[in-house]
Every structure is written in C-alpha cells, then in structure tokens.
C-alpha cells in the first residue's frame, strides 16, 4: 500500500516515466515500476523490454482478449505494440548485459547514498528472489528505483549504507519515493523535486546522510 503522505503508487511511476527520453529501451520490474507503462508519454517512442524476451510490449490486455502465452515480467497478460519482437532468454539477457537497455526501473527495500540498493533478500532469510534484478542492475545504462520513503515502522529506506544484502553497488542514479524525487550524492541524497504536502524538514528527518536541496525546488506535478 502507498504511504499516508505524498504520492500514490501510480504518481510515483508517472514521475519516473517522465524521465524516459524519446527512443529509449526501458525495462520495468515487477510491482510499482510496471505502472510506468500506464503513464501517458505523449509522442515519445519508448520500447518496453521484458526479461522473458518480449521487446515492445504495450498495455495490459483487456478482459477476454488475453493471450495466455504473452506475459510481462510480472506475469500479467500484456499486448504487443506494432514492431514488437520476441527473443529467447539468453538473448534477452544479452540485450541487458550488452548495454542495450537505456533504463531499468525496479522496486527495492533500501537505496544507499552511494547508489547501492537491496531488493532480493530480507534480513536473516535463507535464499531469496533474485530473478533478473542483478543482471539489470549491473548492466542497464541507468538504474531508477521506486520505493516507499519509510518502512512500516517509520525507518528510512534511503540510507547511508544498506544493511540488507545488496543487488548491485553504486548503480542507482534516480530514486522516486512518495515524498519526492532524489539522487544519491555519495554523502546523502539530493532532493530534486518534492511531493505536494511535504516539507524539506519532514523529509530530512527520515532520510539517511546529508539531504541537499535542488535550487528552486519544484513540486512534483500530479494528476491531469
């Protein structure tokens, strides 16, 4: 569920999707990142890649029109856009490792001020769920993370150092939370845009490291 303050899940996804540039190939992870494909991106031409080898998928299929053999990374029945192609798994990860993905968007438990992030294993857990996250994290040209700003007990998820096992180190360049849009700076986080209804002081109190604020801080545009 989304936090009680700031952006809801779709609004976080919308803000990240506005970063996508015309012509990009983008991989969306399971959960909130998938919602980026609902965002109206105007006339920008974005190709969505799914780790199972579907290149160029569109929205979720309408009820009754699903092809049960066509899914995205989250297992949802999606549609294909004109120009789509399907490749096998080794080739799909060749797309990823080969540097052909302009941006990947993933969920996470924690992001550190040095750009590490953790999303595959909980504290004390034996094993975990890696999926394609480590390949994407190590090899996509840009790694964007969407997550709730604080845990259920109010602890920061934007931290000085991850205390959960990391997925990759030093790769995250952009973080969207329900409180705002951030960039890891090495010594903290830079607040690029702030969610409506939040104050800088409120955010600073629940963010690891030194919070710096962009000149002429803007509010994140929502809705409409």
């Amino acid at each position: 569920m989304s936090g009680t303050k700031g952006l809801n899940r779709q609004q976080m996804a919308d803000r990240v999707a506005r970063e996508f540039q015309d012509g990009w190939i983008v991989n969306l992870g399971v959960g909130i990142p998938t919602m980026c494909s609902n965002t109206d991106i105007g006339d920008r031409d974005i190709t969505y890649h799914s780790e199972n080898g579907v290149i160029g998928y569109g929205g979720v299929a309408a009820a009754g029109e699903e092809d049960l053999n066509l899914v995205n990374a989250g297992g949802q029945n999606v549609t294909l856009k004109p120009g789509a192609a399907v490749v096998h798994h080794a080739d799909s990860f060749g797309v990823i490792r080969g540097g052909h993905i302009d941006a990947t968007v993933m969920g996470a438990y924690q992001v550190s001020m040095t750009g590490d992030f953790a999303n595959w294993k909980l504290k004390g857990q034996k094993g975990g769920g890696i999926g394609g996250a480590m390949d994407l994290a190590a090899c996509a040209r840009r790694v964007f993370i969407i997550l709730e700003h604080v845990t259920r007990d109010g602890s920061p998820r934007l931290v000085t150092a991850c205390d959960l096992p990391v997925t990759a180190r030093g790769v995250v360049t952009l973080v969207a939370t329900n409180y705002g849009l951030f960039e890891p700076t090495g010594t903290g986080f830079r607040l690029r845009e702030i969610a409506p209804g939040l104050t800088v002081d409120e955010i600073r109190a629940v963010t690891g490291g030194t919070l710096t604020v962009a000149d002429g801080l803007r509010e994140i545009a929502v809705g409409g």
């Binding site: 049960l68 053999n69 490749v87 990860f93 034996k126 769920g129 890696i130 394609g132 190590a138 990759a168």
Partner: protein
C-alpha cells in the same frame, strides 16, 4: 531399443526411463512455455534425488499448476538451481521455501541471466564465462573474479543438463520447433544444453518439411522426443492467473 521416430504417444512413456539422480531443466516463465504435462508425468513416474533447473520453484500464484514445489513435496528432489527460492513479494510464500529452510532440499540461487547463459554456454561448448552480474554481492563472495578492461567480472560455469522438459506451439516430425509469443523464454537454450530434450506440443505435430527451414526457432537436432498435448481436461494448458488484491 532405438526408437526412430521422435513421436511418443504419451507423457508417461516419454519420461519412463528417466533415472534417479538426473539433472532436469523445466522451461517456462510464469505460465507460458511451462511443460506442465511433463512435470505431472514425472510426479507419477517417481524418479528420486533429482537436480531440477528452472526460473522459479513455482506455486506463488493461483491456480497452482504442476511445479517444482510439487516434486519437492513428493520427495523426488535433492537440489534446485533457480533464480527464486523465495517469491519477489515477501508476502507471497512458495511451497518450496520451507523445505529449503529446513535443509531437506538444497538450492543454488542464480541470477536469471546467468542461469540462461550457463545453459547456453553448455549447449555451445563454452566451459565458463565472465559476467558483470552479481559482482559486489553476497553471491560473489569467495569466488573467482577478474578485471577486464577496467571492470570486474565474475566467473560462471556452464550448466549441462541430462534432460530438458520444454513446451512449444508447433513441431514437425523432425523435431523442429516454433514457439508462440512469450512461450519461448528459456526453452531454446535448455534444449541445446540437454542430452535428451522432451517437448510437449500445443498443436498437432506436422510432417517434416511443413515448417519452412527459415522459420524454425529451435532446430530438430536438439529435440529428441515430442508429445502432443491432448485437449483439457486430459491435457494441461495455461490458465488465466487469478490476480491478488494488494
């Protein structure tokens, strides 16, 4: 006895000779391309001490389909090699997880792209390769790495298979396969890595030559046994997943 035709009349016969201790890969990513009928036949066949390779051990979604978790519950599995020993969402529980946590079944957790590439390498005669994936993580601890052109890479070994269980849309009698949409996923690479590939086929199997050579996704040289999936309920087909409330 050598069987000249690749056509087998039942899943039961196609898996009958699989010995205990085999390494078997299952294709599939979510529903598409998963060899549900062959998994069910293996459950009934009963081979033990198996090492199973797949993206996930399954069972997080409803309706539950034949999966690795069922073979584990049936006492047939020694080890699983996969990209998920737990679900993506901590609130989803995989049936497999408790057997792993109690130590009854071993598991090797492998990033998904590394898993695919290890089988591709096995099928292509590459014994090992370097990848940037998982460098700097817990998975790389104590393992061989090498800096190439200023970047650190992790050494990963090929993963050869005894059997691959796969599913395709179309096959000809020579074993040439075509997949439909996301059905393809791991299936072609698993077929190349296995000594014996058994494919379950959606459509009626057509005579050799009916699929143009230019249109083949997996060459018949990699495919040894074909079984036609019967209509439901005798055959098992992908179902629409029931979405959970979040």
């Amino acid at each position: 006895m050598t069987q000249k035709t690749k056509l087998w009349s039942s899943f039961k016969e196609a898996v009958a000779d699989i010995p205990d201790g085999s390494t078997i890969a299952f294709g599939g990513f979510a529903m598409p391309g998963t060899p549900f009928n062959l998994i069910k036949a293996l459950l009934e066949q009963g081979a033990k001490r198996l090492t199973l390779v797949a993206n996930t051990t399954g069972g997080a979604q409803q309706p539950r389909m034949p999966d690795i978790g069922m073979l584990v519950e049936n006492g047939q599995v020694a080890k699983v090699i996969c990209a998920f020993t737990a679900a993506t969402r901590p609130t989803d529980v995989l049936p497999f997880t408790k057997y792993y946590e109690s130590g009854e079944v071993d598991a090797e957790l492998v990033p998904q792209g590394t898993l695919a590439e290890r089988m591709r390498a096995a099928g292509a005669g590459i014994p090992a390769f370097y990848t940037p994936t998982a460098v700097g993580t817990e998975l790389a601890e104590g393992r061989e790495t090498r800096v190439i052109n200023g970047r650190e890479y992790l050494l990963e070994y090929a993963l050869p298979l005894d059997y691959a269980f796969i599913r395709a849309r179309t096959a000809d009698t020579a074993g040439n396969l075509r997949f439909h949409r996301a059905q393809r996923n791991f299936n072609p690479v698993m077929a190349t890595a296995a000594r014996c590939t058994i494919a379950e086929i959606d459509e009626p199997i057509v005579p050799a030559g009916s699929i143009d050579a230019d249109d083949v996704h997996t060459a018949g040289i990699y495919v040894h046994r074909l079984v036609q999936v019967p209509p439901a309920p005798e055959g098992i087909w992908p179902a629409k997943r029931q979405e959970k409330k979040r």
